[in-house]
Subunit: 504 residues, 2 copies
């Protein structure tokens, strides 16, 4: 359902994008390499100088030197003889080498193969200047001349990506980190955020390209300490307010014009609407937007609260097959109720219902706490990292108990571990809430450090150091290698006071 | 080489195109049918009502009811569920069924396969409105959904061709023909001309899409009695004047912006520049353009004259393997010299050289005339229709001799017969010049009548009633089914006074 007053405000906050031209740096080829990430390595062949000569059947692979999000532009012309028929060029784009080495007809993922980044363009007359209409996210591009007119070589005379973002990379607030390793983590996280800031905060510029509220919340947190693109944050909050499902905030909005939402919800994601308002209030000091949207925030708590009562919840929490989410969702509920309470207090609203809900939910959550194990255990007798993290974040236990919970889960043998950088953000927050800053920083360095070591120049959607081919879609080549929900090291390096924490 | 004064004039005569919206009429499928043209028949399945539901793997073939030249527009939307990944649609266009029944990977023609009319379009977000950038010439289009997201059916809600032409079909001068059979020939010829009138007089809107002077001359002749699109005729004449090769008029100009020519010539085609000026003068009465371009016209005669002297000519004449063109080119030379002479006289230029060239060339041509056979025979002892037609048109013999030549060639057993509707135009002119109007009309009815009977709704590039799969490119599916040089029945039905001639 569309709530016009908010959808109009979302539209009013839309601004022109920044543009940056990036040209290919070198020719590369890919080699099998057991030591390389996903067993494939890009090998530099030569500097890429234009023009690029292409006869029928020719193929070149180019490295743009950095991750690009934008529109490929090129010009094609005749060489020594006028081309008698239209040359056909096939472009295949990849953020990572695997996207170029797995043939598209061998794709067997659970997501539609329309997300595979390739396109064929036929140019009837030369010379011609072409802009591919679809926006791609890539570092590598393979160009194949797939027509058969071998008598007529053509050349690509210009070739560049018109990269777009809602922010200029250079506009980020300065932040000094002397440790080059941490600096690299910081940089790829900030680059990730920059690449995902488009007409909305996209989850990933390669795939989905939607405004997910789980991602938005983390992007906004990170943006407040870096680009401070407050207009875009407001635009996205208004989009969620403007398109809801029976009042419930949707997990995502398709940013297209006109925007729209799907018909289902994630209960934790609906609740994060409260977090978005709370973070906005805390970071901007402005009360106008919280006043305006308070009722919707409250409504999310009411909707999800009623569902928790009957345990008819469908939260996201994390990608983890078989995960019993019943404890974690109560943790999320209390976590966001506390934020809602803070908003209500600031806005001088009656917070009686909220207080009562917190008490009720705390009692319910405490019922899952096993004193013996020092861990939260679900009714199905499942112990998961997710239950512990969200229980800690709910603040239902004392600080000491929380520290023990986080310690105990480390030594448990549970198979229900955190799978996404998104979930790891909340683990970091749990550590931070227990003042375990050094532990948090070490975890961050360990996990994101491995991402850097694997050659990523943006932070990926999914990363399992023990299984480089892990994919929630059963096809690692469709994974997004630049995904917003993994960009929070920028936020954490600010919060953790990295330089000093490291010396603790 | 570019001659700016003329290329600028060509540009100044460029005008906006007319637009007409054509929607698909019915769903069809193709059936093998020994009696159908090229053994394949389009069978109507149902009326085409929008929307068209397309699930992954689905394919529909649509008949637009008439030949279209233009840009396909469509909108795609979700159905009952929001599509999770981009649908990919493959479009395959065909003027004739064969283009849709021969798989593109089985193409083995001598022209580049970039001319095959197909394209894949991926739509990242729905709903979306798409215009295919490439202009297509087609009556049938197959739409296949080639992505694999079977859970998400989509529908095409709008679909139409924005047809373009430099003229509105309705603007043609009225011409009454009571015989429905002749009327059909007249109509498809006029439609052909209309489809080929674009930013220039194109040879064919499906393929090549160039301004060929051999075609232009016939198109202009036809246009003078129908659309009277004099601006476009002037534009095209100026283009040939504006882009020449060491002074010689090129066989074709690429109409793209900026226009350009290839580096080789057809001598007969260079000479037809004279015919274009002559026809213009005769039809428009205007002398300004002939005055302006007289020197270039004269130059063509001088260039080709010098080459004939040394027999280093490379004319087109017709597609006919092994054809000895030495006699025909002298015929063309004299034919155009006479036109040049008429222009010179009208412009009060010194025509001494022209007169002397005519005499010299006539003597040379007469040398090939065999009194015994009543036919022209080349030095290589070859008798061809082409030699006779052009010798007749040169006017080197008496009218009675010409009549005999045209009669004798009919009974000769030569394999060197006319292959293209283009060449047949000159045969009709030869008959007409001998006042054999009834014979001309019968020939026209016979040949173009068979084109009609085979189901063409435009006049094709090549048509051999005895070999429906004949192709100058070794692949009949790449033949153009709408080709300018076969549109002259409109001209001839005016010239031949069809209604009365038929009763002779």
């Amino acid at each position: 359902m569309k709530y016009t007053i908010f959808s109009e405000k979302a539209k009013a906050h839309k601004k022109p994008l920044h543009h940056k031209t990036v040209v290919p740096v070198s020719y590369v080829h890919f080699e099998e390499d057991k030591l390389a990430f996903q067993k494939v390595r890009a090998v530099k062949d030569a500097k890429c100088n234009l023009p690029i000569l292409l006869n029928a059947g020719d193929s070149v692979t180019l490295d743009f030197g950095e991750h690009c999000v934008g529109y490929l532009h090129y010009t094609v012309n005749h060489t020594y003889t006028i081309t008698d028929s239209p040359p056909r060029l096939k472009f295949t784009f990849g953020e990572m080498p695997l996207e170029l080495t797995v043939p598209s007809d061998e794709y067997h993922g659970t997501l539609g193969d329309g997300w595979l980044q390739n396109e064929v363009k036929t140019s009837v007359f030369l010379p011609c200047a072409v802009q591919l209409e679809r926006r791609y996210a890539f570092r590598y591009v393979r160009i194949e001349r797939i027509d058969n007119a071998t008598k007529f070589p053509v050349e690509i005379q210009q070739l560049y990506c018109d990269c777009v973002s809602s922010v200029s990379r250079e506009s980020a607030a300065e932040f000094a980190i002397s440790d080059p390793f941490l600096k690299r983590i910081y940089d790829i996280s900030l680059d990730t955020l920059c690449s995902c800031e488009q007409d909305v905060f996209e989850d990933g510029p390669k795939r989905d390209r939607r405004l997910w509220i789980g991602d938005l919340r983390l992007q906004a947190l990170t943006d407040y300490v870096s680009f401070k693109n407050i207009d875009l944050i407001k635009r996205c909050i208004y989009l969620f307010a403007g398109y809801r499902i029976d009042g419930a905030v949707a997990p995502y909005v398709f940013p297209d014009s006109p925007p729209y939402v799907d018909g289902w919800v994630f209960d934790d994601y609906s609740l994060f609407f409260i977090s978005c308002i709370y973070d906005y209030m805390e970071n901007c000091g402005d009360l106008e937007l919280p006043v305006e949207l308070y009722d919707i925030a409250l409504q999310q708590a009411q909707i999800v609260g009623a569902k928790i009562e009957t345990m008819k919840v469908t939260p996201f929490i994390d990608w983890c097959d078989g995960l019993d989410k019943s404890v974690a969702i109560i943790g999320v509920y209390i976590y966001t109720l506390r934020q809602l309470y803070a908003i209500a207090k600031k806005l001088q609203k009656d917070a009686t219902w909220i207080k009562a809900e917190i008490d009720k939910a705390e009692m319910a959550l405490r019922g899952f706490y096993s004193e013996k194990e020092g861990l939260f255990v679900t009714e199905s007798n499942q112990i998961s990292w997710h239950s512990q993290v969200w229980a800690v974040l709910s603040g239902v236990l004392t600080k000491d108990e929380n520290v023990k919970v986080l310690k105990n889960i480390e030594t448990s043998k549970t198979a229900f571990t955190m799978r996404t950088p998104y979930m790891m953000h909340y683990y970091l927050e749990a550590l931070y809430s227990c003042n375990l800053k050094k532990k948090a920083l070490d975890f961050l360095k360990g996990y994101w450090g491995k991402i850097v070591a694997c050659g990523f120049d943006r932070c990926p959607e999914i990363f399992n150091p023990d299984n480089q081919f892990e994919s929630p879609y059963n096809a690692p080549e469709i994974n997004s290698a630049c995904h917003a929900w993994s960009c929070t090291p920028v936020y954490w390096l600010h919060m953790l006071d990295a330089e000093n924490t490291d010396k603790e």
